[in-house]
Subunit: 204 residues, 2 copies
DNA sequence: CCTGAAGTTGACGCATGCGTCATTTTTGCG
DNA sequence: CGCAAAAATGACGCATGCGTCAACTTCAGG
């Protein structure tokens, strides 16, 4: 029973390190969501963890790398889930609907992360010039291009189309999730209708 | 010839005040666009004007009111222009196309303002909870509702539809304006196709 | 040209943040 | 148990920002 789960229970040393790192990341999420990345100081973050100033620097070299880690995590997760959801799509309509649904379910399941992204959208874009909010405009674009190649879609400017789909998705998500109660299905349906109809029209 | 233009040449006193205020606003636009509102200090702004620290407080009480002024100006201008453009619309398609075109021409004519908005999108949303980037999602929404009332559009969730149109417009604008050279017409056409097609489909 | 009000200036006291590093605490191991 | 390596601590020196305010400059009006 000693060598059980390969990566688990690796001694108190490792456990504390992992816990501290996690605490810093968690605190950073809160702070960045509350007052915004630009206005936040490293001390705002560590203060919330109960750790000492110096400890922060054992884990991250600066504020930016902290944000980067948080965003990379989120972007990876979002991309994986949207991709997976699209896999089984059987039609254009299904493809669009599944993508939006997966994205909204992802956003909705962690309100703090949602607020973090919403709040720092501009900063994120400038700092990393791509990941943006959509976490995958490029992937969507590639999918669109594949669909054109397969004759499923009419030829068009896929960069702008992907941007339109992501932009509409994000903005609709913000409005939809701000409602009480919110209705993911309705939002997915609206967006699906728009883009399926729109894409068809572009081909005519 | 002495009392010529009603509001002009009102003495050196007034002229200096106007110039100082303008200089502060101009500097603030630069700074907010460059490093973001959150990270910017009042001193970053006044330093760039050559004025003294204290002078800032003769014109604005704090950083936020400065941003507010800048954004109110931009939002007013954008709204007026989009509204005006839509006035003469003769069809749904025309309505959508004119709106987007006016918006893009507005954005394109002042790259610094564009960068300011892009960079601080998240902050703006949180700070003023509405004006957002779109500067007029609500107005668009009202127009959509009028169109439904007039039987031009099928009944649907106008809040989400307006959000989708604004979100797509903003995101497409960012991508389109980032190109060299950029093509406003193509972007307008794409968006018009999407939403006209989408709106028609929602009615079927 | 004089004068008083309007406006500008920048140093001041205070607060906060930065990254470092000598010291102390904790942990793994023989 | 005892000790060396690893990690946490927090005070330190420095930098920067805040809003104020007494002294100074500029302008309008007589």
């Amino acid at each position: 029973m000693s060598d059980a789960g390969a990566t688990v229970a690796a001694g108190k040393r490792e456990a504390t390190k992992a816990a501290n790192r996690a605490a810093i990341v968690a605190a950073a999420r809160e702070v960045f969501a509350e007052i915004g990345y630009g206005a936040a100081s490293i001390r705002d973050v560590i203060r919330r963890t109960g750790l000492a100033t110096g400890t922060f620097y054992n884990y991250f070299p600066d504020k930016e790398s902290l944000l980067r880690e948080i965003l990379d995590d989120a972007a990876d997760q979002a991309r994986v889930r949207v991709r997976a959801a699209r896999q089984g799509a059987t039609s254009l309509e299904d493809f669009v609907a599944r993508g939006y649904r997966a994205y909204y379910e992802f956003l909705a399941e962690d309100p703090e992360r949602f607020e973090l992204l919403r709040r720092n959208a501009g900063t994120i874009r400038v700092l990393f010039d791509e990941p943006a909010l959509g976490a995958g405009t490029d992937e969507l674009r590639r999918d669109l291009q594949d669909a054109i190649g397969a004759g499923v879609l009419p030829d068009h400017d896929t960069e702008l189309m992907a941007a339109a789909m992501v932009g509409a998705g994000v903005e609709v998500g913000i409005h939809m999730l701000g409602r009480e109660p919110y209705d993911v299905d309705a939002a997915v349906q609206l967006l699906t209708g728009i883009f399926v109809g729109g894409l068809q029209r572009l081909g005519s």
